[in-house]
Symmetry: C2
Subunit: 255 residues, 2 copies
């Protein structure tokens, strides 16, 4: 068993992800927003690379059926319905609709993992849910931290570490092999577990979000297990994983 | 004052390095080999991107005047004089000669920092020497960890952290602003300071070097302050910095 962590997108090659169980982490804020949207009744989420792609897709599917959501430099994209603040993704807006979603880091990471056997999206808000899913469905795990603009983001590394430490605490995973980044993530998980709200306010990305007036989002993104859904990316869409449908997902390294 | 750490090459943009005081770290093994070569009398070192470049350069400058050194996948390159084991770079081989040097990670990082105001090369072997140089010559510092194949390498991050912690202990630097990676490096510096030889044997790159028979190099690369030179990259060459020649180097952010 093996847990490999990558701290930013360019650190991982496409072939590292192929047929793997991949966990994509973007604590600030895509993971949190995606979990919130799924929890509040959106039918499915189509992650796209940029706003032009989102608009093309919305036109193809019928603009009235689609919510355009996401951000560029943290801000609402002109012509879009929603930004990337989890609080905007309320049930009354989302019920029965599909969402096309674009973000500077998170959706790029998710799309990069297109060739994975299964890609699950994790943040602090669904940590236990993802942990349970991985325990049952994976032997080897590749954790891809989205980072910010191809750079290291401590909050994603801490989330990767919290997940790693929870798995290492399980008997079956005790001997799992870690790469260098996995060891560091595990250390950061221990270090910051008890001060996540403070971490999110002080990290590079958190300070940027505060500077553009998005401070309220940090509290939502720091709320461990507040949104216990398991977003799974498959055939271009993100949907909520239903326990009964386990065998929908071809998982790597299963006998 | 600011210390910015980058954990791998793709994390840093060329414009982040322009006119900066840049520290390039490649503990295993380029930094160590470069320090050793300069300490043992090589006249200057020309870092190049690949072996074809090295051979072209050697032909242009006269093959008999040039030592071809470096590695590909950790191994001696066919037709080259020396590999990337610091122990090969002995005084009797180097005296009065110039060295053309290529390595998978370190030289790519050095060349990437071409537009810096000053690039200094650091490993564990010259930690105090580089610390002293930076104290006297910099206000803002950008530390570029070479990593391995664009990935995070813990030994480079630890070296960055040791350097960061030493600077933070100086009054003038106490309030220096760190980026996310700088905070993590500092934490890793504290964590691993007393067990560097063990770290080098257990990290991803160290285990690879052991697997190709290079275990002896690890001891040399872990020897803090054993080779107290300050390699500076300027006008395409790496030379030993001489204290009397400080004003040769146009340093950023000096009044």
């Amino acid at each position: 068993m093996r847990i490999q962590v990558f701290f930013s997108l360019p650190q991982v090659k496409l072939e590292d992800l192929e047929d793997q169980m991949v966990v994509v982490i973007d604590v600030l804020r895509s993971s949190t927003t995606i979990c919130t949207a799924l929890n509040n009744g959106v039918r499915s989420i189509l992650p796209v690379v940029d706003s032009a792609d989102a608009i093309t897709m919305a036109e193809r599917l019928g603009r009235q059926n689609i919510i355009l959501g996401g951000e560029q430099d943290g801000l609402l994209i002109p012509g879009f319905d929603l930004g990337n603040s989890p609080a905007e993704y309320r049930a009354e807006v989302l019920q029965g609709k599909s969402l096309t979603f674009v973000s500077s880091n998170g959706t790029r990471a998710i799309i990069k993992a297109k060739s994975a056997a299964c890609t699950v999206i994790a943040g602090l808000v669904n940590l236990s849910a993802v942990e349970g899913f991985l325990r049952n469905n994976a032997d080897d795990i590749t954790i891809l931290c989205s980072g910010k603009a191809d750079r290291f983001s401590i909050e994603d590394a801490v989330c990767a570490g919290l997940l790693t430490n929870r798995l290492l605490a399980v008997d079956a995973w005790k001997q799992a092999e870690l790469n260098d980044a996995g060891h560091v993530a595990a250390l950061l998980g221990i270090r910051y577990e008890q001060r996540l709200p403070e971490l999110l306010r002080q990290c590079d990305h958190g300070r940027y979000l505060i500077s553009i007036g998005m401070e309220d989002d940090l509290r939502l993104c720091a709320a461990v297990d507040a949104v216990p859904v398991i977003p799974v990316y498959k055939e271009d869409h993100i949907e909520k994983f239903m326990a009964a449908a386990t065998d929908q997902f071809p998982l790597a390294h299963r006998d």
